[in-house]
Symmetry: C2
C-alpha cells in the first residue's frame, strides 16, 4: 500500500491556494538520533497577516514494513504542493519524460532526495510561468527523512534549486522556514545519543519558542516519529491548542526560564570607561 | 564638553573599512524601563567568515549634566560610520546646506531621531556612489536612546530610509541586526517595571543566545546604562571573554536551561492517526 498522508497531495498542481504570494512562513524541524527520527511542522500559512490559514506541511509516504518517508515543506505553498503532487503521482525523468518515478518507489534515501530535487525544479518552473515579472518568491525547501528497506535511516534538507545536504551526527537536526527563534535550544540540547522521545520534547520546546516570537508560525502541529529499523510509523499525530501535554510543556518551560534568569545575580558592573 | 565615544567617529567618511561588502552582522539591543535605559552591542563585523574584525558599534554623545545620547548601529559599516561622522561633526540641513547641526545639539530626542535619519540618507547616498551596479547592500539601522535636558527619556529605532519608530511601554525594547535568536528571552522576561540592572542581565542573556547560534556576533560587548533624569552615564564598559560575571552568566544560563528541559516529562504521545 502506498499512501500520501495529506490532503494537499490531492490538490491541483499549482496555484490552487493562491500562487500570488501566499507565503508559508512555517517552522519545520527534523531530528535524527541514534534511536530514530522525529519530524514536526506547524500548519500556518499566510498571505499577509489578514489571511492566515491551516495547511498540512508534514507529508507521509509509507509502505508499512518496507519504507517510510517523511517530507516537511516550507516556502511557497503552490510550489511545495506541486512538488508533493509530483512525488505522489510520479516525477518525470529529465532524460525521458515517459518514465516517471513515485517517491515511495525510490530505491534508496539518497535517490529519494534526488527525486525531491527534480520535483522541486519542475514545480517551480510550472508555478512561475506567467509570474516572471511579478516578483513573487517561489522559493521552497524540504526536509526529507526516513528509511527504505535495509538501507540506513537518513535525513536530508533539499533546497529550492534542487540540491540537497545530509544531516550528520555532529549536528543531528535540520530546520526549515522561520528557524532562528527555535535554534538556540536545539544547539544546546540535541545530541545524537539522546532518547527519541526526549528529542521530540526538545523539538516541541523549539516550536514553542518560535510560536511565541512569530505570529506566522502557529498551532496545530503535526508530529511524526519513526524508530530506526522499524519501517513502520510509531507516532503520527496532530497537536492543537487543547492538548494538555503541550500546554503544560509551554507553561513549565516559561516558568523554568523565569526561575533561571531570576536565579542569576544582577551584573556587578559599575563605572564609565572613558 | 561634547564627546563622540568612539574610534569610528574619527574615521574617514565612507569606505575606509571596505565599503565593498563588509557586513556588520551585529546584534544590538536597547531596553527602556521605568528606571532608565540599557543599550548594548557586540563588536564583530565581517566581510565573509575569513575576514572578521572588531569595531565599536555603540556610540556615546554626552554633555554630562545636560544630555546623553546613545547610538547603536547595524548594517553596512561604511554607511553607519559615515552617518556617525556626520552626527559628530554636523549634519547639513536639507533645505540649506550651510546650516549644520551636531547630534549633541539636537533640542529634543525626537529632533535627534530626525537628525539620525537625515544623516543616514546622506551617508547612504555618499557611500553608494560608484557602487550602483555592484549589488552591495548599503542598508543600515540605528537604535537611538537617551535624554536631553528636561525632556523625557526615549528610545527610537531608525531605519535605512531615515524614518523612525519609538519604543512604548508595552514592548519596551528594540533590537537591530541579528535579532531573532535573542528575541524569545526578551519577549518573555522584559517588562517596563523591572529593575534597571535586571534589564541589563536579560539583555546579556539575549546576547549570549545570539552569540551561541551565530558566529557573526561576538565578543567583546559594549554596554551602557543611563538612569532616568541622571543626565550622566552611570555605566559604560566593554565586556570581553575574560569577564568573570559574563562567563558565569553564560554557564548558569546553560545549566538552568538543561535542568529546565530535563525536568519536563517526556511526551506521552502514541499512536498513528490515519
Amino acid at each position: 500500500m502506498s499512501r500520501c498522508g495529506t490532503r494537499a497531495g490531492c490538490a491541483p498542481l499549482a496555484g490552487a491556494t493562491g500562487g500570488e504570494g501566499r507565503k508559508a512562513m512555517t517552522y519545520c524541524c527534523g531530528i535524527l538520533v541514534r534511536e530514530g527520527l522525529v519530524m514536526m511542522a506547524d500548519t500556518r500559512t499566510n498571505a499577509g497577516l489578514d489571511n492566515i490559514s491551516t495547511f498540512r506541511k508534514l507529508h507521509i509516504f509509507e509502505r508499512p514494513g518496507e519504507s517510510v518517508l517523511l517530507l516537511a515543506t516550507a516556502g511557497n505553498l503552490s510550489v511545495s504542493q506541486g512538488a508533493i503532487h509530483l512525488l505522489d503521482e510520479g516525477v518525470p525523468d529529465p532524460a525521458d519524460e515517459t518514465i516517471t518515478t513515485r517517491l515511495i518507489d525510490a530505491p534508496s534515501m539518497s535517490a529519494a532526495a534526488h527525486l525531491v530535487g527534480i520535483a522541486t525544479r519542475l514545480a517551480r518552473t510550472q508555478a512561475s510561468e506567467g509570474f516572471e515579472q511579478s516578483g513573487v518568491n517561489f522559493d521552497v525547501s524540504f526536509l526529507l527523512g526516513g528509511q527504505i528497506g535495509g538501507g540506513g535511516m537518513r535525513l536530508f534538507m533539499v533546497y529550492a534549486a534542487g540540491n540537497a545536504i545530509e544531516c550528520t551526527i555532529d549536528t543531528p537536526y535540520f530546520q526549515i522556514g522561520e528557524h532562528k527563534y527555535g535554534k538556540p535550544i536545539l544547539d544546546r540540547a540535541i545530541s545524537f545519543d539522546m532518547e527519541l522521545y526526549d528529542a521530540l520534547k526538545i523539538g516541541l520546546i523549539s516550536m514553542d519558542s518560535t510560536m511565541r516570537s512569530n505570529l506566522s508560525v502557529g498551532l496545530p502541529l503535526d508530529l511524526a516519529l519513526l524508530r530506526r529499523d522499524a519501517l513502520t510509523l510509531e507516532l503520527s499525530i496532530r497537536v492543537d491548542a487543547s492538548d494538555a501535554y503541550f500546554r503544560d510543556l509551554r507553561e513549565q518551560w516559561s516558568k523554568a526560564l523565569k526561575a533561571a534568569h531570576i536565579a542569576i545575580p544582577r551584573p556587578p558592573y559599575g563605572g564609565v570607561q572613558r
